[in-house]
């Protein structure tokens, strides 16, 4: 309890009307400022979502900021190529100068514009997929590229680690309407009723769509100063992100890429794909597609709702592979099964309405940086492979100006 004297002194100093008016004015000004800054692209010299532009250092780009970035980087007279997916397509193991998406841009030429929104740990439709979905509203000539492991497509439409972007876009009304996606999404959301963190994330996104606090303070962190200390930026947490450069290192020399202590882990990951066995042996003892396997029904049941039906043909899925350093250590039978799964995944995705390419066994182990990420030479091979498929897609989808494109 405050003494009457203390209450009197406080009343003498504070004028309640002016005080509460100040709270209301500044709070509303912040909301309006958040809305205003969200309408402009904040990112300068953007190459990819490097360590200082992603959640690993508490930087969470908002849906509006990603949308404006896309609008700024993808002129409407070009064919837009949005790269999503995980760290493989992000380009872990490649410096900005070595980045595979730069090579892809060079290979595709001036008729195309490539935007790398791959993000560490992202699910196939997560983050980059959300960005592509938002951008398609005003960019009909858009091809989205993502990646999956052989035999597996995760079920969650909004992703897992970076679902903040999906829900921000959802509550801001930036996503396309798709009845199938919304039905499946409602089912997945209902199944998460016992996850308070998910409820909080959704409530936060809903509130942000009204008050724009994430947009304002993320803009402040990018353009003015960092406000959140974090263990990834002990020395420079207060520096504006605009000043901080991509620190991704080049791949170590070939002899240092596969430390013996990681052999068991690498083998475990390679064997993990075999768990999704959707193949059977034919009469000659070779692994072939098992048409009756539930693996393939599940693959398409998970993949299809993540993309609106009209967008699936403009979605290219790269079925990536583990390094032969590990796959070649599997038994001959398991190795054959691994690549049969990769082939079948690619074919099944194509049958499901997507475009797909497989890395398969085309990438030698010296083109990998580790068990799954590519070194510069692997990135160059990936760019070549993806560019050819994108050009065919652009022709097939009537995206090229002359209707013939650069068909190879």
């Amino acid at each position: 309890m405050r003494s009457p004297g203390e209450r009197r002194r406080r009343r003498r100093f504070l004028r309640p009307n002016a005080f509460f008016l100040g709270i209301a004015c500044s709070f509303l000004t912040c909301c309006v400022a958040g809305r205003v800054v969200s309408r402009h692209n904040i990112f300068q010299d953007f190459e990819r979502l490097h360590i200082y532009l992603n959640p690993s250092t508490y930087f969470y780009p908002t849906a509006s900021q990603v949308l404006e970035l896309g609008r700024a980087k993808l002129p409407s007279d070009k064919i837009a190529v949005v790269i999503g997916g995980n760290s493989v397509l992000y380009g872990v193991g490649q410096t900005p100068d070595e980045l595979w998406t730069r090579k892809l841009q060079a290979r595709l030429g001036d008729e195309y514009r490539v935007l790398n929104l791959g993000l560490w740990g992202a699910y196939p439709a997560e983050f980059g997929g959300t960005a592509a979905d938002m951008l398609r509203a005003d960019h009909p000539r858009l091809i989205f590229v993502t990646d999956v492991r052989p035999g597996c497509y995760p079920a969650e439409i909004d992703g897992v680690l970076h679902r903040f972007l999906f829900w921000d876009a959802y509550y801001k009304g930036l996503l396309q309407h798709d009845a199938e996606r919304e039905t499946v999404l409602a089912r997945q959301v209902a199944a998460r009723h016992d996850q308070p963190a998910f409820s909080e994330l959704r409530d936060g996104a809903r509130l942000n769509s009204l008050l724009w606090f994430n947009d304002l303070w993320t803009d402040v962190a990018y353009n003015h100063c960092g406000t959140v200390w974090n263990s990834g930026m002990i020395e420079n947490w207060y520096v504006r992100r605009r000043k901080l450069r991509d620190t991704e290192r080049t791949a170590p020399p070939p002899g240092q890429r596969y430390p013996p202590e990681f052999l068991d882990k690498g083998m475990e990951i390679a064997r993990g794909c075999l768990f999704y066995n959707g193949c059977r042996k034919d009469e000659k003892g070779h692994w072939v597609d098992d048409a009756d396997s539930p693996v393939w029904t599940r693959l398409l049941d998970n993949a299809r709702p993540a993309f609106a039906e009209a967008d699936r043909r403009a979605t290219l899925i790269v079925v990536h592979a583990e390094s032969p350093h590990y796959v070649n250590r599997l038994s001959a039978d398991d190795r054959e099964l691994y690549y049969a799964l990769s082939r079948t995944t690619t074919r099944r995705l194509e049958e499901g309405g997507f475009a797909a390419v497989e890395m398969g066994d085309k990438f030698p182990e010296e083109e990998f940086r580790d068990h799954c990420h590519l070194a510069e030479s692997g990135g160059a091979r990936l760019a070549e492979m993806v560019a050819g498929r994108i050009q065919r897609m652009a022709v097939d989808l009537g995206m090229t100006h002359d209707g013939a494109g650069e068909k190879r």
Binding site: R12, F13, L14, R15, P16, A18, F19, F20, L21, G22, I23, A24, C25, S26, F27, L28, T29, C30, C31, P55, S56, T57, Y58, Y60, S87, V92, G93, W120, G121, L161, H162, A197, E200, L201, G204, L207, N208, L211, F213, N214, L216, W217, T218, T227, V228, N230, S231, G232, P259, F262, K265, D370, H371, H373
Partner: protein
Amino acid sequence: MKNVRRVLSFLLGCLIGVLFHYALYRIGLPLEPFIYMAF
């Protein structure tokens, strides 16, 4: 003196309003950042 108190009260209110808006941003951040481990 009355006007000075009004202005100071208003400015203090402004500060609290900005902090409140910033707090909404901060409470939405996870306690632990996402850590990516490549090997």
